[in-house]
Amino acid sequence: MTACKRMTLAMIALLAGPAALARAEPGVPLAIGARAPAPAIATKLRNVDGKMISIADTTGKAGTLVIFTCNHCPFAKGWEERIVALGNTYVKRGIGVVLINANDPAKYEEDGYVEMQARAKVRGLQVPYVVDETSEVARAFGASVTPEAFLFDRAGKLAYHGAIDDNHKDAEKVQKRYLKDALDAVLAGKPPAPAESKSLGCGIKFRRT
């Protein structure tokens, strides 16, 4: 077994823990304190650079951030710059970051792979933006809206789930920086407060199974 494979298995164990075969109930997101579903985090997903990577491959020493997003949704677009800024900043601070597009491009052409590549380039994205080609990863997380963030702490437990902040349209008018505050809390070894938030958004356009 190669060192890389041993490391990947270790990351999977760290994130998934004993509930390795568990997955969220359909439409019900992972609970705070839960570990990420093992099959999902081991699934290889195509990145915008053409390489196949898994969530486990992106696990950070200080925590792991998974954001389900897409290209077409006005809410995702409104938060796009902030998502990129948070990802690019916190990946340098030990948080593994991956953006996942689980939408079916047959429903919105703008959610296709080529547009993902273009968007990542224009925004200067420095973290993976991958395609969930069967939407199974999103289903396993119980994700249902874009954007939707799942932040795991260094122990691999879900510490924060929900919105980026409380204003998708105007960064200057944000009053509650939910995700940024949660990232800082995780880095400090503290539980985020609040641990969960919600925002209006677009339903994930799941691919048919």
Partner: protein, 202 residues
């Protein structure tokens, strides 16, 4: 609250919408075109729980939301067919800026016209969301992720009996709402006070 005002009833102070930005937004919808004043969760709940309706549908939508626009004609058609039986419809738009509100009005006007409803006398209660998203989403249904569209069914006194987190069809609504309506259904072939337009296939 809004329905009481629309019916010409005095609005109890306890049910008044506490939204600070729009103190005059009491009577909307019926007879007031497509104005959509901002409302907090408390204000929306007051409209839901106002007496007089055996069934209340609350639909959360936005003008930019394609699935929302696609389901709107079926929703309005159902309201058209069941309002005489007491169905109350509350539409809450997530379009909270001026451009969005204009777009929402245009979408709603077109959808109403397409099903034979006069937009100036829609009879539905219209709001734009003016509350914190987390509180708003959890307040309507903690199982709701916030994804649009979403529709919620209440019976008298604001008791939620069903939630749809996907676009609804006419049949979806009939399957759940009809049993709550106390009056005979109004529809083609049945006696009604006003002449109904020909029923089109959902």
């Amino acid at each position: 609250m809004l329905i009481l005002g629309a019916l010409g009833c005095r609005v109890p102070a306890a049910l008044a919408d506490t939204t600070p930005r729009s103190p005059a937004a009491v009577v909307v919808g019926h007879g007031r075109g497509l104005a959509m004043p901002p409302a907090t969760l408390a204000g929306i709940r007051a409209a839901i729980g106002a007496p007089g309706a055996p069934a209340v549908l609350v639909n959360v939508w936005a003008s930019w939301c394609e699935p929302c626009r696609e389901e709107l004609p079926a929703l309005l058609r159902y309201f058209r067919d069941r309002r005489a039986a007491g169905l109350r419809l509350i539409l809450v738009s997530g379009d909270d800026d001026d451009a969005g509100k204009t777009a929402a009005e245009d979408v709603l006007r077109a959808a109403a016209t397409s099903v034979g409803l006069d937009p100036s006398q829609l009879g539905a209660t219209l709001f734009t969301k003016a509350d914190d998203d987390t509180a708003f989403v959890n307040g309507l249904d903690p199982r709701w992720s916030g994804a649009l569209p979403a529709t919620f069914l209440y019976r008298g006194r604001g008791e939620r009996v069903h939630s749809w987190f996907d676009p609804v069809t006419y049949e979806d609504l009939e399957a759940r709402v009809a049993r709550l309506l106390t009056s005979p259904q109004t529809g083609p072939g049945r006696a009604s006070k006003t002449k109904q337009p020909p029923r089109r296939k959902p």
